[in-house]
Each structure stands twice: as structure tokens, then as C-alpha cells.
């Protein structure tokens, strides 16, 4: 069976971004970019499904400028078989991304679409769910374990109070939580091999998707800075401060 893994290029998780002086957006120029960590987990899970003899082909897809080729190559170095780049210069809301992915899924007819649960830039946590709605497919969000049994999928999800297990027929949409797996590192030979794997670029027009404008950014501001407080010398002093100064205990 085929697994489709949408991946996103984002600012590296260890970089602290700054807001532009004119408050129009965050400044991402010259920042280190990487594969979104949750997408990496989704790719790893797909590769494990292939290693287990369940998946036969892994297709990765990303929407953005040509720069996303870098992340698609990374995904292929991790084990994806081929990549699709949907060319778009615009900052797209998750619904627009979901519409694009739906068009890709209609072409690819994957049995499982495996996404990260959220991207660490927009922090929206929407795309997988929206794709599931557009494709009218069952969804399993925040997956920490998944088992494929014939044409059924059993997924353990991380929910607010603990864990929940659901089962659903394939095809289905799954979004990966942090605890689904530990992604591997790409080896140098695999990075070299990934350069020869097929990467197809498709324009939005060729994909036949028309998007509309849903929102406009009014401003982007820095959150209020928290000032460092004081260092106390002892536990006694800490308790005294919490009781009499902060009055929180």
C-alpha cells in the first residue's frame, strides 16, 4: 500500500525567532531551516511501515517555493521513495494547504496520509484534520502508536487525560505526535542516493486547485518580555518570599 507524507520546511526548532521591526511578520531571513520535527516523525513512521512490509511506496509532498526541495531530499534520504513539490510563493493558511493535499491525494490514492500534528511555526494543528474533512476520510490525530491490520488501522492517541485507542477502515488520515517514534538520522550514502530519487514539481494551476483569501494579518508583535527576577540564597528565603512578597502560597 501507498503512504503519502506531507512535510513542511520551517525555521529550526532551536532557533528563537524575532518579530520584524515593522510588525508585519517574524523575520526568517538567514535563519536555519529544517524539516518540521513532527513531519520528521511522520516520515520515520512511514519508513517503518515499509520496513515492516506493510507500505510499498512512500511519497512525500511539500508546498512552497523551490527551497522546499531541500526538505524533500531530506525526507527521501530518510527513506521516502519519491517527492512531489507543489510550487507556491504565497503564505498559505492550513485550509489552502489541505485543499492542495486533497488534490494530490486524489491523484495518488494513498491508503494512509501521515502528517505531523502541527508545524512549529504556525502552531495551527489543523491541516490533517482539514484534509480528512475534505477527503471525507476517518482521522486519527495525535497518534503515539499505530498498527495496520489488513484494511484496518488501529491508532493510540494522546488525549488530554491519557491515551485513547481508535480503530478505523483505510484509507485514513493520521497525524503524528512526538511519541510515535524516534526519527533516524540520514546516513551519507542515503543522502547521496536521495539526490537521484524522483522529484516532480507541479504548479497550482496544473494541480487544478483554486484558492481563496481567508484572512489578513493585522500585525505580528513580540510577546511581553518577562524580566528575570531575583536569585534567592536558600530554601528558607524562597518560602519567605513566596509567602510574604508574592503571596502565592
Amino acid at each position: 500500500m501507498k503512504v503519502l507524507v506531507p512535510v513542511k520546511r520551517v525555521v529550526d526548532a532551536n532557533v528563537k525567532v524575532r518579530v520584524k521591526a515593522d510588525n508585519t511578520n517574524v523575520d526568517t531571513t538567514n535563519l536555519k531551516m529544517a524539516l518540521n520535527p513532527f513531519c520528521e516523525i511522520a516520515v520515520e513512521e512511514a519508513v517503518r511501515l515499509k520496513e515492516a512490509g506493510i507500505a510499498t511506496e512512500i511519497v512525500v509532498v511539500s508546498v512552497g517555493t523551490k527551497a522546499v526541495h531541500e526538505q524533500l531530499r531530506t525526507a527521501m534520504a530518510l527513506g521516502a521513495d519519491r517527492a512531489i513539490h507543489i510550487d507556491s510563493d504565497d503564505e498559505l493558511v492550513p485550509l489552502s494547504i489541505a485543499k492542495i493535499l486533497h488534490a494530490v491525494q486524489l491523484k495518488e490514492q494513498a491508503d494512509i496520509v501521515l502528517l505531523g500534528k502541527q508545524s512549529i511555526d504556525g502552531d495551527n494543528n489543523q491541516t490533517g484534520q482539514m484534509l480528512a474533512a475534505l477527503a471525507d476520510l476517518p482521522q486519527a490525530t495525535f497518534a503515539s502508536q499505530l498498527n495496520v491490520d489488513g484494511t484496518n488501522l488501529t491508532v493510540t492517541r494522546e488525549i488530554d487525560g491519557g491515551l485513547q485507542t481508535l480503530t478505523m477502515p483505510l484509507p485514513a488520515i493520521v497525524t503524528a505526535d512526538l511519541r510515535l517514534n524516534e526519527p533516524r538520522y540520514a546516513s551519507l550514502p542515503n543522502i547521496m542516493k536521495a539526490k537521484r530519487k524522483p522529484l516532480e514539481s507541479i504548479s497550482l494551476a496544473d494541480l487544478g486547485v483554486t484558492l481563496k483569501s481567508h484572512q489578513q494579518i493585522v500585525k505580528v508583535t513580540a510577546p511581553q518580555e518577562r524580566q528575570a527576577g531575583i536569585m534567592v540564597a536558600s530554601v528558607e528565603e524562597l518560602v519567605e518570599k513566596l509567602k510574604n512578597e508574592a503571596k502565592v502560597i
Partner: protein, 307 residues
């Protein structure tokens, strides 16, 4: 304008988050309806109708809604969405799963984790792990929002709304198998006034008992960093951070937590932050109101005996 608020509940108890989301609806302005979807959830509807400012409670009580599966709950909400200008839910696991489906079915964008209402069309939400706040104006006919409960105070319980039953039944292909919930007598993380959190520095799951004892003395909830969860010290539903729970208690006590960007995203709106860490360079000290450079294995027992 009429606003729909999806109730957060476990079929027996209305969760405190709902009263906070209703307050976000009050800030938008208009009639407020609370929607209770579940199975044998009449008690929840009873609690929901007491929320101040709520005009109507609509209840869909059917066995297919028992597990509040995103698939059919979203279809149900979409079925009544034409009555509403705004659809709100808590940014909880249920809200985050179901609402984007509602938005997609309505062909509108969703704004996630709203922390401030500017006006009926304009909302502020954090991006980049809380390192920037984005204010966006929605151009869509229906505004679909998940709301961060910690950013709003709860409304009071002196209302008396009318209750209406809905009978639409939508099936889901997804089947609920089981769930395991973490049992705890302590307050829920999201609603606790005090949170005691442990990180990698705790060393082991057994050592968390120290924090639990301290938490019990303070009437606090216990939280954890990702490192502590990944190391298997505590279950993942205790994780505070960008991908875990977002909390804003009166007092947040970070013990053996370095203070990575992703952890700070979940707790830096706490009123008072205390850090206990033996590394004076730990980033957590840059946001802590009170810092104590000490070995937690000495500091926590003495803190325990002093409180």
C-alpha cells in the same frame, strides 16, 4: 450574531474550560449557545445552562457521540453551522481534533489557540512557540476558533439558559476501542492555581514522589517537561509545553527543568515562576521571578518540611 461554544466534558462533568471559552464568546459579543455533544450527558447540559451569559444550551445525546469522535461531531456541528457567526471550542484534544474539520466543511479558515479577542472579526494567537503574537482579521463568513482556556477567566455559574435537544444522528467510520486515563486526586493541570513541574533533573520516576508530596501540600497539580516524559518518568498527559498543555497558574515551580523554548511556550504566562536548578546558566532562570541555584534533592525535601 450568534456564537456556538462546544462544551468540554466527559459525559458526566462539564469541564471548567467551557466557562472560560464562554467568556471569550462574551468578549466577541452576541447571543451565546453552548453545544453539548455526548452520550447520557443530561447532567452536563444541566451544568452548562448555569453558565452566566449563555442564552441556550443545545444537546445532542446519542450513543454515536459517546466518545466525541471528530468525524461525526464535526458533521453534526456543520449541520447547524448556518445558525452561527462564530464557532468556538477549547484548544483541547477534542476541540483541536473536531474544529478544523468543521472549518474545512464550511470552507473557512480556522484560527487556533486564540488568546485575545480584538473585535468580532479580529483575533490574536501565538505563533512560533509563543515567541510572536499574530493578530489576524478573518474574512470568512463563519469564524471558527479554538480558544486557549488559560487566556480567559471563567464566567460565573448564576445563569439559567433554556435547553433544547437535537436529534440528528451522524455515524462515524471510526470506532472507539478503549482509553486509559491517568487517575489523580490532584487538580487538573489546566485549572490548577499552583503547578509543580519536574524535568530531566529529577533522575527517575520514583523521584517524582517528592514533587507529588510537595504538590499535595500546596494543593497543586504536577506537570513535567518533555525530557521527563520521554524518559518515562511520568505519563505524557502531564507534559507542559508547545505540544503539551499550555498553563498559566498563579505559581509555577520548575524543578530540574532547563527551560527550552518549547517548554517555556507552555508556562511563561504563569503569574509567578520559581526555578530550582543546580545549573546557574539554565535558561529557566531568565524567566523566573525567584530562582534558587541548588540541588533539587536537597531543596525539595527542605521545601516540603517548611511548607
Amino acid at each position: 450574531m450568534t456564537i456556538l461554544v462546544l462544551a468540554e466534558h466527559d459525559n458526566q462533568q462539564l469541564k471548567a474550560d467551557t466557562a472560560k471559552i464562554v467568556n471569550a464568546a462574551v468578549a466577541i459579543g452576541g447571543d451565546i449557545h453552548v453545544f453539548v455533544v455526548g452520550e447520557n450527558c443530561a447532567a452536563v447540559a444541566d451544568q452548562a445552562k448555569q453558565l452566566a451569559g449563555v442564552k441556550k444550551v443545545r444537546v445532542a445525546d446519542a450513543s454515536v457521540y459517546g466518545a466525541q469522535l471528530a468525524e461525526n461531531v464535526a458533521k453534526l456541528i456543520t449541520d447547524i453551522s448556518a445558525d452561527y457567526s462564530h464557532i468556538l471550542a477549547a484548544a483541547s484534544s477534542v476541540g483541536k481534533s473536531a474544529l478544523p474539520r468543521v472549518a474545512a466543511l464550511a470552507d473557512v479558515a480556522q484560527i487556533s489557540e486564540v488568546v485575545a479577542v480584538v473585535d468580532a472579526d479580529t483575533f490574536t494567537h501565538p505563533i512560533y512557540a509563543g515567541n510572536a503574537l499574530e493578530t489576524v482579521k478573518s474574512l470568512d463568513a463563519i469564524k471558527v476558533l479554538t480558544v486557549r482556556p488559560s487566556a480567559f477567566d471563567a464566567v460565573s455559574n448564576d445563569g439559567n439558559a433554556e435547553v433544547e435537544s437535537l436529534t440528528q444522528v451522524f455515524e462515524a467510520r471510526t470506532t472507539f476501542v478503549s482509553q486509559t486515563l491517568t487517575e489523580s486526586a490532584r487538580p487538573e493541570l489546566g485549572n490548577a492555581g499552583i503547578i509543580v513541574s519536574g524535568g530531566r533533573g529529577m533522575g527517575s520516576g520514583e523521584n517524582f514522589v517528592m514533587l507529588e508530596q510537595l504538590a499535595d501540600k500546596l494543593g497543586a497539580a504536577v506537570g513535567a517537561s518533555r525530557a521527563a516524559v520521554d524518559a518515562g518518568f511520568v505519563p505524557n498527559d502531564l507534559q507542559v509545553g508547545q505540544t503539551g498543555k499550555i498553563v498559566a497558574p498563579d505559581l509555577y515551580l520548575a524543578v530540574g527543568i532547563s527551560g527550552a523554548i518549547q517548554h517555556l511556550a507552555g508556562m511563561k504566562d504563569s503569574k509567578v515562576i520559581v526555578a530550582i536548578n543546580k545549573d546557574p546558566e539554565a535558561p529557566i532562570f531568565q524567566v523566573a521571578d525567584y530562582g534558587l541555584e541548588a540541588d533539587l534533592f536537597e531543596a525539595i525535601p527542605s521545601l516540603n518540611s517548611l511548607i
